[in-house]
């Protein structure tokens, strides 16, 4: 009986592994931010890309921090994230290569339409100060944070720093500061239930708001400090030899192609009356003097480039 048990175990494991290696379509494992995933954009990309390419895109929704961990461990082939400072470390430590900026939009500070802290019309720095002041006089939660080491969370930390607060101390004031440690949609749902303020990416906010899940209002948006830039990077194949590097590069080429950029830009336009994401490739290429390109360069370029040449892994054609 022990022999039967052993054989059965080996059969199941070997069976699934063999299936995935030889019979199933090739897989491209992608770890991505929850903000892109929760809007439904990935479903659309997956459907379109799989229709014309013989590959199975496996998309895991995680915060930027987790996505980068997946990539460092070699558990995925490619990541799409939005935290330039974390991405810089990731490239410098040799884990990732071939970074391309694919899209941008803006974070927004959302809150109840009654705006009890009075933040409409001021900039994000002043808004956070007012929220702190208001929150310290309340016995309920007035600020809901992702708290999951995601790109949005890291943006929140930098906003607190810009407003002159120590993040560790401010997040410890748990009477008014709620850290939920989960994805964008869940964080907004919690903020809605508590009538609290939160930092959100505009894409997820618009989706939930249009679907009627939340009644929170976008109170502050479209300022330089709230810029949100999404990039794609492949996992370095010299570090993790098993990764599907060839397909990862093909997929990056698709994302920056006119077709990929149009898909990103048009996604959700019909339902939400505005684009959830804006393609970054065209403006960066053709309109270097525009304000948005200046902002992207200031925020998300490293040494004056979206991917310094030493991190291009012999794929200069990606940048021509």
């Amino acid at each position: 009986m022990l022999i039967v048990a052993a054989i059965g175990t080996i059969l199941v494991v070997a069976g699934t592994i063999t299936y995935f290696r030889y019979f199933a379509k090739r897989r491209l494992m992608i770890s991505t931010t929850t903000s892109l995933y929760d809007t439904g954009l990935w479903d659309e990309i997956e459907k379109t890309y799989e229709a014309t390419h013989n590959i199975d895109l496996n998309v895991i929704s995680a915060g930027t921090g987790i996505a980068i961990e997946h990539a460092e461990n070699g558990d995925v082939d490619l990541i799409v994230v939005h935290s330039p400072s974390m991405e810089k470390d990731f490239l410098e430590q040799g884990y990732g290569v071939c970074r391309r900026i694919i899209a941008y939009n803006f974070f927004t500070i959302v809150g109840p339409s009654s705006d009890p802290a009075g933040i409409v019309g001021v900039n994000s720095t002043e808004a956070l100060k007012r929220i702190v002041e208001y929150g310290r006089n309340q016995s309920t939660h007035v600020w809901v944070s992702r708290g999951d080491n995601s790109g949005t969370h890291s943006k929140e930390k930098s906003l607190w720093a810009a407003a002159g607060y120590n993040y560790t101390l401010i997040s410890a004031e748990t009477t008014w500061y709620a850290s939920v440690g989960s994805g964008m949609a869940n964080t907004l749902n919690v903020a809605e239930q508590k009538s609290a303020y939160a930092l959100a990416d505009i894409g997820t906010y618009l989706k939930l708001s249009t679907d009627g899940a939340i009644s929170l209002t976008a109170l502050i948006t479209q300022e330089k400090a709230l810029l949100n830039v999404y990039s794609v990077m492949a996992v370095n194949q010299t570090l993790h030899t098993h990764v599907n590097f060839g397909d990862a590069i093909d997929f990056i080429k698709y994302l920056v192609s006119d077709e990929g950029q149009t898909l990103i830009e048009n996604y959700g336009k019909a339902n939400y009356t505005q684009s959830l994401f804006y393609g970054a490739v065209q403006p960066l290429k053709t309109n270097p003097a525009s304000q948005i390109v200046q902002w992207i360069q200031d925020y998300a370029f490293f040494d004056g480039s979206e991917c310094p040449s030493q991190y291009r892994d012999g794929h200069p054609e990606l940048y021509s």
Partner: protein, 240 residues
Amino acid sequence: MNEILDGIVKALQLIFSGDPTVYGIVFRSIFFSGTAMILATLWGLPIAMLLGLKDFRGKSIIKGFFNTMIGMPTVALGLILFLIFSRAGPVGFLGILYAPAAIILGQAVLVMPIIVSIATEAIEAVDPEIMNLAKTLGASESQASFAVLKEALNGVLLSNTASFNRAIAELGVVLLVGGNIAGTTDVLTTSISRYTNTHDLDLAIALAIILLVIVFGINLAVILIRKSKIAYFLSQRISR
């Protein structure tokens, strides 16, 4: 209120129109948890036979261990398996993290203690005379063991259904080692969580209804098996 009613109506439409997304998820749930149950039986039954039929030192400690493991929190097991299956972990070379094999193995580990505990009890409850009788009639040791196993079949089936139920309803393992990849490793529990978050309530409700039907249906089956087991023992007593 309207949102709830509307969600339920749309959910029923999804279920009865045979929506491919919904049934893909249902199929994966049943397939993963069913395979996990079979695997756990393959591992657990030999152990249960040993514990039920043989006397040895430390037996009660082993039985206590499996009884305790029934209560294993799924997220804790999920975390442990994540660390083991990740490329950075000891069996990372298999490359099974975020693939069905990881879910099946994980759920099998999760439910094996249920198989061991219930099956052991069932085997112990079999009249020891049967073993002796079989041996007297010239059966070998293993043939006699099989005779006992046959008598304990109801209990073994009970352990199977209970473990399938636990596997299909758990979230921690399947989320942490499966990754909830749409079309590959997303199952009922992970999809309900995902679609509730993104406010696709019709899908979430449809999947929840199906999960409840499966779980309650199986619980009902368990009750019926239990009843028939009691009826079986009673009939034995009376006939004696």
